[in-house]
Amino acid sequence: MTTTDKQPIIELRKITKTFGTQRVLDKVNLRVYEGTTLVIVGASGQGKSVILKHMLGLVRPERGNVLVFGTDIATCSRRKLKEIRKNFGVLFQNVALFDSMTIFDNVALPLRERTDFSAREIRERVEAKLELMDLQGAGAKYPAQISGGMQKRVGLARALVLDPKIVFFDEPTTGLDVHKSNEIYRLFYKTQAQLGYTAVIVSHDVPKIFKLSDYVALLANKEIQGCLTPEEFQLSDNDHIRSFVETTMGPIYTSEREETSFYEKV
């Protein structure tokens, strides 16, 4: 694991999780450093979202610790967990907007429930966030009345409305076309620069997602195969990482010698 002078804000220590008889995570270790962006990649069904759910305290491990701001959320009280979650913003894979509320009410909900702001302050803050996400005028609509890309942006607005310290993204661009994906990445880049939050992203969108990441971790074979910078990741000798990079990006980093021998055979 790459060392850094920054402090780990989230640390998974030897996390083991089994669903029924199927072991999904086996002694997973992972650190997320303050102010950085960690991208977790891996094939579908490997348990990337399960790692995220551990970090959010939605799933508790059989063994191991999940330290967030130094507190083990796998064993702490619900009250403490709630306090820690006040620093979280989450963009779920299926967005999880409250479908019986308008877009405005969706974004306003955390403000209404967790702050003492007046109705006017809430309106101003929500409208500012909707504007940041290019969603002006959509406040009165319901989630079912807007497109998938817009729903993701509403989800992002809701996740960021209380200026969280850590934002989790579970497959933020799945199901979107290239333009919409780029739009989400642009908004991510813009808001992170503005708000300075730590980001944990689970994504399939390799190699594009590498551009946004400080660290990339591959989950394969129930373990984290390496948490490296994007450059280190693409040059890693680890079999799993090498195979993943070649599968998703093609054998673009094979050596000259290998390429020569390949052409000689042909």
Partner: protein, 262 residues
């Protein structure tokens, strides 16, 4: 043979697990009701949903229940020459039994099933997880107002049911079958005691709690359903099971409360 014991053990463990979960759920909801902050608006909204929007169906069922009681009661009592007791028969049946029970069954059908489906869909589409991740307590935000509203709305609906039912009985007994109006009300006045009214109130309060408890818990724990709470089919299956479970519980508790308060 071992398979049979395995099955019995498995079912017993499952029953204990569900019972424990339901008990903790109720305690957690009651705890959140007591704990501040208190917000009135969500409760009013739920009283409107569970109570006001059930009024029409309660008016209908109450009126026809009272009317059929008047009709059946009249022909039964006439055999003994006691048509004069029709008022007391209608009132006692409604106040002690039919009012609370039928109101509860109507509320289960109209609001209880909707609560299970609503919370179940929220569970399935990760909306409850989203609430938790936003540090918004789903028990406080989502469930506590429903419990308070259930306990407020159920007695009110039962009152309406009883009043309309008695009027329905009066309409058939006095209007149609020509029982003397004074005798109808006098027999009611003589026979009905505060114990009967109190029994109705206690029942409606308990039923209010019971309906919301079962229907909300079934939706909330949809993902833990043994038969699989996945997708639209999971929601429909769980909603059906919540309605059946709540209805049966109402009838069982009706007997228990009657036996205790008699």
């Amino acid at each position: 043979m071992q398979k049979i014991f395995d099955k019995i053990g498995d079912e017993t463990l499952n029953f204990l697990e569900v019972a424990g979960r339901m008990g903790i759920f109720l305690l957690a909801c009651c705890g959140r009701i007591i704990a501040p902050p208190y917000k009135l608006q969500p409760v009013i909204k739920q009283v409107h949903f569970i109570g006001s929007r059930s009024v029409f169906v309660i008016l209908f069922t109450g009126a026809f229940t009272g009317m059929v009681l008047g009709l059946q009661g009249y022909y039964t009592l006439r055999k003994f020459g006691s048509e004069g007791l029709l008022g007391s028969a209608v009132a006692l049946s409604l106040l002690r039994e039919l009012g609370p029970v039928l109101t509860a069954l109507m509320v289960i059908g109209r609001a209880g099933s909707a609560i299970t489906a609503e919370i179940g869909i929220m569970r399935n589409s990760e909306q409850i997880d989203a609430l938790e991740c936003m540090a918004i307590d789903p028990y406080k935000y989502l469930l506590a107002p429903k419990f308070v509203a259930g306990v407020i709305a159920m007695p009110m609906l039962t009152f309406i049911f009883n009043v309309v039912g008695i009027f329905g009985g009066y309409l058939v007994g006095v209007g149609l079958l020509k029982v003397n109006s004074g005798v109808f009300f006098q027999s009611m006045y003589d026979a009905v005691n505060w114990v009967d009214i109190n029994m109705g109130i206690v029942k409606s309060l308990v039923f209010g709690l019971l309906v919301i408890w079962i229907c909300a818990a079934k939706g909330y724990f949809l993902h833990l359903e043994r038969s699989g709470g996945f997708g639209a089919e999971g929601v429909s299956r769980t909603t059906t099971s919540a309605v059946v479970m709540a209805s049966v519980s109402i009838l069982i508790w009706d007997y228990l409360i009657s036996a205790i308060m008699m």
